[in-house]
């Protein structure tokens, strides 16, 4: 693209020299249109989706024409405002957000979400307490599998294992996770896991490993057949020294590696990541959660190396990735992401992710924005608008979200299977309306510390969520025993229920619950550490 095609930006008096700058300028130009769209909801979706697909091509083809038109329009607008200021008796009457919104609703048919909300308001009188709702205690409880039982005993006695030869990868993985859970994962077990050329090495708790252990393990394993490498909590051992030593001994690295998880590798630097990425050309999924030494440069390295191939990226909790203009453009380079986690990043706000959602999120299935405190309703609007295939969404602890956000998600994301709303301020009616429209496909729902959750939500849960397997209602203190009865009676697929902070359950009912088929944690029935279970898959768990 020739820089001479573009006129000077009158605000900054400089030429646009790179593609990145051209893209940034394009986003600035479309910002007004986006804001206008944000107010008018979901009008003309299909047309705009088509337009969006051709936008980038148009910019390349008709760059100069576009900018010339843009300049003319902007100058005209400025002149108009100046003229009206001179003749102040002619006042511009602009409609407020509410008026625009009302007009849209009047003109178009009401959305499903709004219809659901209205029907919820009407049904309030109908919801009565139901003492007849008993749990069916004659349900056939499924016995734990023999694989599960024997794996547990094996994990407790893993020191006696001499060899894991001929044990298939998925059983090694299960055993590894169980031993990791006991906090006893050591070098010896790691050596057992790497023998016999496995295609997967999975270790969820590498706290006890040191640098030399890791170098030895990397060098001894069959790197050609290795496709999945999970070394979580390897902070002590995953250092520059380890990586450099390994590449001195094995310059080819990991030629077949497709999945890499180094969660909690707090000594991992940008340079080490560069070496790893150079040696793993086939990487598709990478988890760098809580790698606190990484900076925005790490994201740029990944974007340059795997921009067109990476399918899963987790950089949640990488506090070294601060606000930087390169963050947005690097994120934009990932063309094929199915999974993205930017949980807890201070640098993430509506502006940063807007460009990504507008042009790159059509195939996104799993997204985590947990604890990104700058994210607002506008971001949720973009998610609803562009992330049509979203299946798992984590919006834990986002203070600035209102009921509008849940409406946007309801209208846009029709395939949601997992939703985490922990510590948000959504109203009871709003959550109930969401469930009425989208609850049928949900497998997992987390409403932990959503204070307003009440009988409306419980009623909708019981009525619609027949596929729900995991439910967290911890600290939802407006719910009563009858609501719980209704949920347990009607949610036929429910496997696990969390009820931490529930003091509103009578002892007699507790006894009934202990015989139900649902795995309940958080009441008097369970130990203090019961919340540390593996029942609740995190967003992106299927990738790592």
């Amino acid at each position: 693209m020739n820089s001479s095609d573009f006129p000077n930006d009158s605000r900054e008096n400089r030429r646009i020299n790179t593609d990145g700058e051209a893209i940034d300028a394009l986003f600035m130009a479309t910002e007004e249109a986006v804001t206008r769209d944000f107010l008018s909801g979901f009008q003309n979706q299909d047309v705009e989706m088509e337009e969006r697909k051709s936008t980038e091509a148009d910019v390349v083809k008709t760059g100069s024409d576009y900018w010339r038109d843009y300049e003319v329009k902007r100058n005209f607008k400025a002149a108009k405002h100046f003229a009206l200021e001179l003749h102040s008796d002619l006042k511009i009457v602009e409609k407020t957000e509410e008026e625009v919104e009302e007009e849209v609703i009047r003109d178009e048919d009401k959305s499903e979400f709004r219809k659901a909300k209205e029907s919820i308001k009407k049904r309030r009188q109908e919801i009565s307490t139901t003492s007849d709702m008993e749990i069916d205690l004659n349900v056939r409880r499924k016995a734990p599998s023999l694989v599960e039982l024997s794996a547990r005993v094996l994990a407790q006695n893993f020191l006696a294992i001499k060899s894991l030869k001929l044990v298939p990868d998925h059983l090694r993985k299960k055993l590894s996770y169980l031993v990791s859970g006991l906090g006893e994962f050591d070098t010896r077990l790691m050596e057992l896991l790497i023998e016999d050329s496995p295609s997967e090495i999975c270790a969820k708790n590498c706290v006890q490993l040191v640098e030399d252990d890791l170098v030895k393990i990397f060098c001894d394993c069959d790197r050609v057949s290795l496709k999945v490498l999970i070394l979580d909590l390897c902070g002590r051992s995953m250092t520059d020294y380890t990586i450099n030593q390994f590449f001195k001994r094995a310059p080819n690295g990991f030629p077949s590696l497709t999945t890499l998880s180094l969660q909690g590798a707090f000594c991992l630097t940008d340079n080490a990541l560069l070496l790893i990425s150079k040696s793993s050309p086939l990487l598709q999924y990478i988890n760098l959660t809580e790698c606190s030494l990484l900076t925005y440069r790490a994201l740029r390295i990944l974007a340059d190396k795997f921009g067109s191939t990476l399918r899963g990226l987790s950089i949640g909790g990488c506090q070294g990735i601060k606000k930087h203009k390169g963050f947005s453009s690097s994120l934009y380079k990932f063309e094929k992401l199915n999974y993205l986690s930017v949980a807890g990043l201070v640098s993430v706000n509506d502006g940063v992710v807007r460009s990504f959602f507008m042009f790159r999120s059509s195939i996104l299935t799993d997204l985590s924005l947990a604890n990104c405190n700058e994210v607002t309703d506008e971001c949720m609007w973009h998610i609803g608008r562009y992330c049509k295939k979203l299946e798992a969404l984590d919006i834990t602890d986002l203070d600035k979200l209102t009921d509008k956000s849940l409406e946007f998600i309801t209208e846009g994301c029709r395939y949601l299977k997992s939703l985490k709303l922990t510590s948000n301020r959504f109203s009871d009616e709003c959550i109930a309306a969401f469930l009425e429209v989208s609850g049928g496909s949900l497998r997992e729902l987390c409403l932990n510390k959503v204070r307003d959750v009440g009988p409306e939500t419980a009623f909708s849960l019981a009525k619609v969520c027949k596929m729900l397997q995991f439910l967290d209602l911890s600290w939802c203190r407006r719910l009563k025993e009858d609501d719980l009865r209704r949920i347990l009676r009607c949610c036929s697929s429910l496997q696990s229920l969390k009820l931490f902070g529930w003091t509103q359950v009578e002892d007699t009912y507790l006894e009934e619950l202990s015989r139900s088929d649902v795995h309940i944690t958080g009441l008097k029935l369970t130990s203090l550490y019961a919340h540390l279970d593996n029942f609740y898959p995190s967003v992106g768990a299927k990738f790592f």
Partner: protein, 96 residues
């Protein structure tokens, strides 16, 4: 009279158990119920050339324990540590 099936171990030991108990295993269920005139479904005899007698005995015990469990009698199923690795492999093959 209750229907039974015969499971034969690597060493040739025979375990005659209720068909319902054997059906706890998805693999055995497929062998006994699949159409196509397989010898297992005709004769009700399944041979396991890779599963030792000790392990097959434990598996048969598990089948009955599993039935009891699903009927509400929730007891603990004890597994000797020295059997676990081989038992896990066999259970994986039998889909139990």
């Amino acid at each position: 009279m209750r229907e039974t099936v015969k499971l034969i171990s690597m060493e040739g030991f025979e375990f005659v158990i209720d068909r319902e108990a054997a059906m706890v295993s998805q693999t055995i269920r497929s062998m006994l119920t699949s159409p196509g005139g397989f010898s297992e479904s005709k004769d009700g005899v399944v041979t396991f050339p890779d599963i030792s007698t000790t392990i097959l005995e434990k598996i048969c015990q598990y089948f009955y324990w599993s039935l009891q469990y699903s009927r509400g009698k929730e007891t603990e199923f004890h597994i000797e540590p020295e059997l676990t690795l081989e038992l896990m492999m066999a259970a994986n093959y039998l889909h139990t």
